[in-house]
């Protein structure tokens, strides 16, 4: 068994999410400490050559690339089987996978196939006495846990989105591309993809660097309109509290908190959100938090960096107006 690190780079329509490059950066940092190569695994069909170059620029030393009709869409069966084969050939010490929806499904499936451990949603990785120590949030970040995989190899980790910095791409970096054959034929795969309904417009919560979020204070579905205008100005994603989602004002995809998404943007603007412990659990690691709320006693002001004690329907448009001027 060598000391190489495999990173699975996910792609959708030939594009990789920032989260995969964050995982690549984490792999690069581990490799600086323990030696070994960083090997990217890239499965799909069209556009993989460009992605392979991108993988080199973000820190891969080598790319294992597999293409085929059965690999166009992510499905656990063919992807896990292929990754298992690649891992058996490479014998890496470590496998890193971004903790996206796909990654969170692929990681544990691969762990079962390899009969090894998979530590989910890591927010920090370090090496102590030749052993990787992972830090991860539990109970929605109310507590943290340090975990290891002491006996089994390889060690699999999924990296929480935006927990690791995205490396600066180095366009002059290059490496070797090795082609792999898909291991499963289409007729061996049970799951068939019948279509894809893309979310209409807007920025995804998971990798947004700015989130504009609305709670009970938006008072109805139309109350999100000023928030959307502010979000458009900032190229931000729209978030929501559980109260707003439960009231049916906005779909669940937007919910931030313990029973929604955990986010960690550079800027989180909470509009009309009181700051229930469940909501705070999902956004407390944001770099800067702005709270806009009529109620000066709202708990959200306890975690916010800046606060406006104002009606959001006055403050949000005013903020959008100023930003439009300044950011032009």
């Amino acid at each position: 068994m060598g000391n190489d690190i495999v990173v699975w780079v996910e792609q959708f329509e030939g594009e990789a999410p920032g989260a995969s490059w964050e995982a690549m950066g984490a792999a690069r940092s581990l490799a600086e400490g323990q030696g070994g190569d960083v090997i990217a695994c890239l499965f799909g069909d069209d556009g993989l050559e460009e992605l392979a170059q991108e993988a080199f620029s973000y820190g891969a030393d080598k790319v294992l690339l597999a293409r085929g009709a059965s690999l166009v869409d992510f499905r656990v069966e063919p992807y896990a089987a292929l990754l298992e084969q690649a891992v058996k050939d490479v014998e890496p010490e470590i496998i890193l996978i971004a903790a996206t929806f796909r990654g969170r499904e692929l990681g544990p499936a691969l762990a079962v196939k390899l009969e090894t451990g998979c530590i989910a949603d890591c927010t920090a990785l370090s090496t102590e006495d030749g052993q990787v120590v992972a830090t991860r949030p539990i109970y929605a970040g109310k507590l943290m846990s340090r975990c290891t995989i002491p006996e089994r190899r390889p060690q699999i980790f999924t990296t929480r989105v935006r927990a690791f910095g995205k490396p600066e791409p180095q366009p002059d970096r290059d490496g070797e591309v090795v082609e792999l054959e898909p291991t499963m034929a289409e007729d061996q795969i049970g799951v068939k993809v019948a279509g894809f309904k893309e979310t209409e417009g807007g920025v995804s919560l998971a990798d947004a660097s700015i989130i504009v979020s609305g709670g009970r204070g938006v008072a109805g579905p139309e109350g999100y309109e000023p928030l959307r205008e502010l979000a458009e100005t900032l190229n931000a994603a729209i978030g929501a509290s559980r109260a707003a989602v439960d009231a049916g004002w906005i779909p669940y995809e937007h919910q931030v908190g313990q029973t929604g998404k955990t986010v960690s943007p550079d800027l989180y603007i909470a509009c009309g959100i009181s700051g229930a412990i469940q909501h705070l659990a999902g956004m407390r690691t944001s770099k800067v938090i702005v709270a806009i709320n009529k109620d000066p006693e709202a708990p959200i002001f306890k975690v916010a960096d800046y606060g406006l004690v104002e009606d959001l329907f006055d403050a949000v448009p005013a903020l959008a107006e100023v930003l439009r001027e300044k950011l032009q």
């Binding site: 499936a109 109970y139 340090r146 799951v191 019948a194 894809f196 309904k197 995809e253 550079d266 950011l327």
Partner: protein, 265 residues
Amino acid sequence: MHIVVCTKYTPDSEAKMSITEEGNVSWGDSPLIINPWDEYSVEEALLLRDEYGGTVTVISMGPEEALEALKHAVAMGADEAIRVWDDACAGSDTLATSYVLAKTIEKIGDADLVLCGKSAIDAQTWQTGAALATRLGCPSLMYTIDITELNADEMSITVERLLEEGRQVVSAPLPAVVGTIKGINEPRYTSFIGIRKAAKMDYPLWTLEDIDADLQKVGPSGSGVRWPEVFEPPVREGEAEIVEAETVEEEAEILVEKLLAEKVV
């Protein structure tokens, strides 16, 4: 149609979590409840049963506290409930837990569909569903937000599942493991009659021997992951700086200056 739902007990999501002087996790006096995510799978199982007929069996690997999860599912309307436990199961990670659940489902024998929540709100690994599907050699359909078709004659299922960019529409043969997420349904409240039924219900305990499990594959010896240390995260310091001015427009100006200085816009 025999639908099996995997559940887990957790502290209430409102619980204030802390670490005791002995280094153990404490949820104070908060109650133990069914993992909130599992309520969606129980509800979906009941809806499917009512439409297609059949039985809903809930299972949970855990000590006696796991009865909280099973009782809640029965009070909602589940037909059967089985607890699986042996002290050797303590310290199981998702690799070992998925093994025990898979052996339990194999012992049940005729499961057409297995449902589970997307994740448990305690350890939050999101792993058990996909690991279980792989153990059973079944299709893995995690993050399902809509079961659009269940064809009992052809034994197939079509679902919409959530990915970052939107919803992937997939079909698969049964048996399959479906992971549900919020938005798929609105879990019902338990009724007085349901709670009474749950109180009177018999909850068989299956041991590792009952499910023919290999002792080496459960607990720490069957696990890859160890978690030697749990700690409280550093608290976010202090109170917000409240921006105050004559008009809201001026406040907006001041705030934007501060955000520009922080380099976050």
